[in-house]
């Protein structure tokens, strides 16, 4: 790809490349929860997109153009999505030991019901989202105009990603979670209930999706199709990352972001297939995803 880029004028691709970072980081924060669920608790949560939508609708309902409303929306959205994640964990306790198909059916049902409830509560239209007035404009970046909110979002999402990395790497909760990936039985023998880890992980996934939903509402806005779109992107990230680590997830999300923006700008005629072509290519070359899994099985 780089050879092709160098041959052309670089200038028109600056904004798409920058936007790819914003988009990629949003996809990362949204998908990180699903990677945690699937990688740690072994739960395929197809209602994950709905958790994002909860955050998005919260943002649409509460944001009024001021900073306090953003803080309020973030708090309410994260709490609501966390509670919904814990609720899904509760529903899943009886089928947790069963196959992924059973989990998928149950969470898919939850996603359909949740989607209908959200449309019932907020209406069938895409509600408007008002970003803080100070960020509602565009700024000059390398001679181009770029949305101010997205630029700030890049910084905030990068901070979130760093924080997540620290939590998983350095805290006791993170260690337990990583231990559960490697050897769930041993963790159970140590006296930590796998069920509690499952609830904790699903709640944390809900919190991440809720935060992504609130902060990302001006980028991927709430609406009847939001849950499906976010779930699809998250599943692609899951496949690309190979469920290995947070670093792999971040890498995969950034690749998805660049494919969706820079890739589309470079090869618009291939836009409908680019994402899935990349996914097929990664699967064909390396069945584990972009970053090799740490485990040797």
């Amino acid at each position: 790809m780089t050879g092709v880029v160098a041959g052309l004028r670089l200038d028109p691709y600056v904004v798409p490349a920058l936007d790819g970072v914003a988009y990629g980081l949003l996809v990362f924060v949204a998908a990180a929860g699903l990677v945690l669920c699937f990688g740690v608790a072994g739960i395929l949560n197809l209602a994950h997109g709905t958790l994002y939508a909860i955050g998005g609708y919260t943002a649409a309902a509460l944001l009024d153009g001021g900073w306090p409303s953003l803080a309020l929306a973030l708090a309410v959205g994260v709490v609501a999505a966390t509670a919904s994640g814990a609720l899904i964990a509760g529903l899943l306790t009886r089928v947790a030991a069963r196959s992924h198909l059973t989990q998928a059916l149950l969470t898919f049902g939850v996603a359909l019901a949740g989607g209908s409830l959200l449309v019932g509560a907020f209406g069938p239209d895409d509600p408007p989202v008002r970003v803080p007035a100070a960020l509602d404009g565009s700024v000059a970046v390398a001679g181009h105009r770029y949305a101010a909110y997205r630029l700030v979002f890049i910084v905030v999402a990068a901070l979130l990603a760093g924080l997540l990395h620290l939590v998983v790497r350095r805290t006791r909760a993170g260690m337990l979670v990583r231990a559960a990936v490697d050897d769930a039985e041993m963790v159970a023998v140590l006296g930590v209930s796998p069920a509690r880890i499952r609830v904790g992980v699903l709640a944390a996934a809900g919190a991440l999706a809720g935060a992504a939903g609130v902060l990302g509402a001006p980028i991927i806005g709430p609406g009847p199709d939001t849950a499906d779109a976010v779930l699809l992107l998250s599943l692609v990230v899951v496949v690309l990352s190979g469920l290995g680590s947070m670093t792999g997830t971040l890498l995969a999300a950034l690749v998805v972001g660049q494919i969706q923006t820079l890739g589309v700008a470079l090869a618009p005629s291939a836009a409908p297939f680019l994402l899935f072509a990349a996914m097929a290519a990664v699967l064909a070359v390396r069945a584990r995803g972009l970053a090799t899994a740490r485990r040797a099985t």
Binding site: D11, P12, Y13, V15, P16, D19, Y23, V119, G123, P124, D125, D126, P127, P128, R130, G137, S138, H144, R145, Y146, A147, A148, Y149, P218, I219, I220, G221, G223, P224, D225, A229, Q260, T261, L262, V264, A265, P268, A271, P272
Partner: protein, 397 residues
């Protein structure tokens, strides 16, 4: 374990049974067609759930508004309106239409949001020999002898605005739209008429740029291409959530200073609220605007605002007109308004006075020959609204 499975299966059977029982009473009421002098049954099929439910509800409410402002009668007869849910498309529209035609034996069918649904319901109409007065979607059909539309054909908005864009823009225009049948038709209508009047497209290969639909939610890469093409204006068509994304991102992009022209659906109805300030100054072409100055429209808008928040949309207006068409056709069909007679009467209607101005059915396509209006999103009191700024061509047929 061995105990739980059968118990669960039993529970599932019970749930299924309950569902069947719930559904049964809904099928029980089956009345015959209207006798002479009695009420007439009209079937209205529209998306009351799914992606297009905002449009579907406008269509239902527009028809009901006509009934409630006309004493619940069409052609002097009491109307029994049977409403059915079209859902997301053909798969849900066909069973609903089958029920309306076979079981309810409606005299005429109206509504239908999706062009795909119309195509799927079309064979049923021919079988039942019932006229269809559609108020939105319109695919290519071979035989339109029983099919009428009060809306428009998809390539007409672009055709109507092409000359104006040619006169107004000094330079080339970038054409971009969604990659599906509706998008192809809307953009083809514009590009063909635009080329005919000597306009030049800014797209690098001289052809419209189509974005994957409905997967495109981020238009930034396309705006970068528009910038690189050196275009002086942009023509587009998007509807629903894609319209919201496109307009909001356009307003913050590096092409935000280029004038944006669009088929009216880009800023019509609920999407305009979602777009907010980002939609200001966008030009669009449509067959209707709530601020048109004629007696029919003043009455229509006043009646609509008495029952709903906000102004009526073109969808509601087209459905209101479908009721007006049936009103006059049933009156003209005589003592026994059979589907055949109503259909024949629709063909003889001539000019219709409507909130959009006067129009009539084209004898060949059975779609309206009507005037199109240039509108701009401007401040109207507290809210932004599509304000008519001029008349465009009369197109249709």
């Amino acid at each position: 374990m061995s105990l739980t499975m059968p118990r669960r299966r039993r529970a599932r059977t019970a749930a299924l049974l309950a569902l069947v029982l719930l559904a049964a009473p809904a099928c029980a009421d089956d009345q015959g067609a209207a006798g002479p002098g009695g009420p007439v049954k009209i079937g209205l099929l529209a998306s009351l759930s799914g992606t297009y439910q905002a449009v579907g509800k406008d269509i239902r409410d527009g028809f009901q508004l006509y009934l409630s402002t006309h004493d619940g009668r069409l052609g002097g007869r009491r109307v029994e309106l049977v409403v059915a849910d079209e859902g997301n498309g053909a798969a849900t529209a066909v069973p609903a239409a089958t029920k309306l035609l076979k079981q309810d034996r409606v005299v005429a069918l109206t509504g239908v949001v999706g062009g795909g649904s119309v195509a799927a319901v079309y064979p049923l109409l021919n079988e039942a020999k019932v006229p269809f007065v559609g108020s939105n979607g319109r695919p290519e059909l071979k035989d339109v002898s029983r099919v009428w539309h009060t809306s428009y054909l998809s390539d007409e908005p672009g055709e109507a605005i092409a000359q104006h864009v040619r006169d107004d823009v000094k330079g080339s225009v970038y054409a971009i739209g969604p990659d599906y049948q509706g998008g192809w038709d809307e953009l083809r209508g514009f590009t063909e008429a635009f080329a005919k009047v000597g306009g030049r497209l800014a797209n690098p290969d001289g052809r419209t740029t189509f974005t994957p639909f409905p997967t495109t939610t981020n238009f930034t890469p396309y705006f970068a291409r528009i910038k690189a093409s050196g275009a002086d204006a942009v023509y587009t068509f998007y509807a629903g959530s894609a319209a919201v994304d496109f307009v909001k991102q356009y307003a913050q992009s590096e092409v935000k200073d280029l004038p944006l022209y669009a088929a009216g659906f880009l800023t019509e109805g609920g999407v305009l609220n979602a777009q907010g300030e980002a939609a200001r100054d966008i030009y669009s072409v449509l067959n209707y605007s709530p601020d048109l100055d004629n007696a029919e429209n003043r009455a229509f808008v006043a009646a609509w605002k008495a029952e709903h928040d906000g102004s009526p949309t073109t969808y509601a207006m087209a459905s209101y007109d479908a009721a007006a068409v049936l009103d006059r056709a049933i009156a003209a069909a005589g003592d026994d308004p059979t589907p055949e007679r109503v259909n024949a009467a629709i063909g003889q209607l001539g000019q219709m006075a409507s909130p959009r101005g006067t129009w009539q059915f084209s004898p060949t396509t059975h779609a309206p020959v009507q005037k199109w209006y240039l509108r701009q999103v401007r401040q109207d009191g507290r809210a932004l609204s599509n304000t008519v700024v001029g008349d465009l061509a009369t197109v249709g047929g």
